[in-house]
Symmetry: C3
Subunit: 205 residues, 3 copies
Amino acid sequence: MYGKMTLYFLDLLGTAVFAATGAMVAARRKLDLFGALVLAFVTAVGGGTIRDAILGSTPVFWINDPTYIEVICLATALTILGRRWWHSTRYVILVTDALGLGVFTVIGVEKALSFNVSPLPAVIMGVLTGAGGGLIRDVFAGRVPMVLRHEIYATAAIAGGLLYVLTMNFGLSREFVVICCASVVFGLRLLAIYSNFSLPRVSGP
Amino acid sequence: MYGKMTLYFLDLLGTAVFAATGAMVAARRKLDLFGALVLAFVTAVGGGTIRDAILGSTPVFWINDPTYIEVICLATALTILGRRWWHSTRYVILVTDALGLGVFTVIGVEKALSFNVSPLPAVIMGVLTGAGGGLIRDVFAGRVPMVLRHEIYATAAIAGGLLYVLTMNFGLSREFVVICCASVVFGLRLLAIYSNFSLPRVSGP
Amino acid sequence: MYGKMTLYFLDLLGTAVFAATGAMVAARRKLDLFGALVLAFVTAVGGGTIRDAILGSTPVFWINDPTYIEVICLATALTILGRRWWHSTRYVILVTDALGLGVFTVIGVEKALSFNVSPLPAVIMGVLTGAGGGLIRDVFAGRVPMVLRHEIYATAAIAGGLLYVLTMNFGLSREFVVICCASVVFGLRLLAIYSNFSLPRVSGP
């Protein structure tokens, strides 16, 4: 119960920071207030929405829990009002975003498994939940999605998702597995940020 | 019954003009006939399709009523054949498009409410139905969506949707609420067109 | 039974070559390995996924058959490892892609019909299954979708889909109709490749 509340709180924290990155991209592209809200919205819940549509879990998760919408609106407002502090808070944003990626990935894998999905598609649902929103945000903003380019972002989510499905039958407590996997995603993403490490590009002739 | 027929007729009128704007964008981007059909299609039914997928109302609305598809094909054909009159009909298009926005928004809010969705997500479903198609059209055509940029478009839909959920428990007749809300969207949009009024841009550092 | 196995085999072959074209686009846009996997994935199963979400056939097809995911991963790996042979194999790719288009279209039409969809929307579901993945691939890669531009691609799928719904009540065996329709798509697409024939562009003022 306590763990469930914590995961829900972290989920909302991830939602808020994902929304903030959406609002920031909107500002950089000189969109209007509605554009900021839309990008905040698709970044925060876009991945989970597609996951739920694919699994057939409809109405999708945020329809029946208005808290998500409220958190997104609040985060967008705070992001726009506080834009003079963006530069000084950018590490806080990057670190919270990495935390959100871990939490979203684990939530996505668990939701897929609760629909009796086999392990490999469950990992994909985890990655989609974690990285799908940022991808849609970038497509809407008219730029090639950041997650498809030289950065360890989705790769961290893949690693965490694989760890989950590999260890889930080891008899470990669910909470322990959740914490471990989210931490692995979080840790790999932090490592990538601090070391500027990235996947090799694919190059064609 | 009479009101229901009128709403359905206005829905088809909105479908036709949304399709026409899709075909026009296709022509400006030098796409082929199939590209024009696809852009017409996603502009006209894209928002409602995503709404239905989110709500779990499948098969989505246009699958079981071929009239939508027929209207879209006809509108696309007429738009392409009549391209020499685009300039002289542009105000007709803008005004009909504003009408379509109002009708689509109200239909989206009502459909969400018929699925027992709470008010805030219902407003989002209304805005999605009204403005979602134009957004996808622009993403497919490779430009930053018009609705995300300095124009009162989605904002008019938000106002109409909010008015609906605020007044629906006042004991007013459903038809009266529908007409009022669609008219508010239509009026705000017309005002924006004639005054070139727009939302302030969000600007970042 | 034998025919069903053959169709499934052709489906996987189409999946593999669609995935390969996704990985190639990723390489040309200098995306990373994850970007290549994502583009391979959306090209191969994107159209069918949207079709299933529209029809309400959830969880979507590839969730319960991991073979699709395995084929995509394998095809992506082979495509990247074999990039020095892309130029010399480009006709093999084009021809196999045309075959995949035919197979995917027929599968899409049949799936829609199995949901009691009327003929016109069933044709649209066929075209979506065949050409939708390539469209999403191009949007994600930040270019105007190839299928919307001057090429006979989706048009071949439309022709095959229409033939299917027109002949399905003629009392012909299902296998014969499937083979004929897939062959028509395949043949038209090959003809377009070899003759560089394309649809007229729509041009506006």
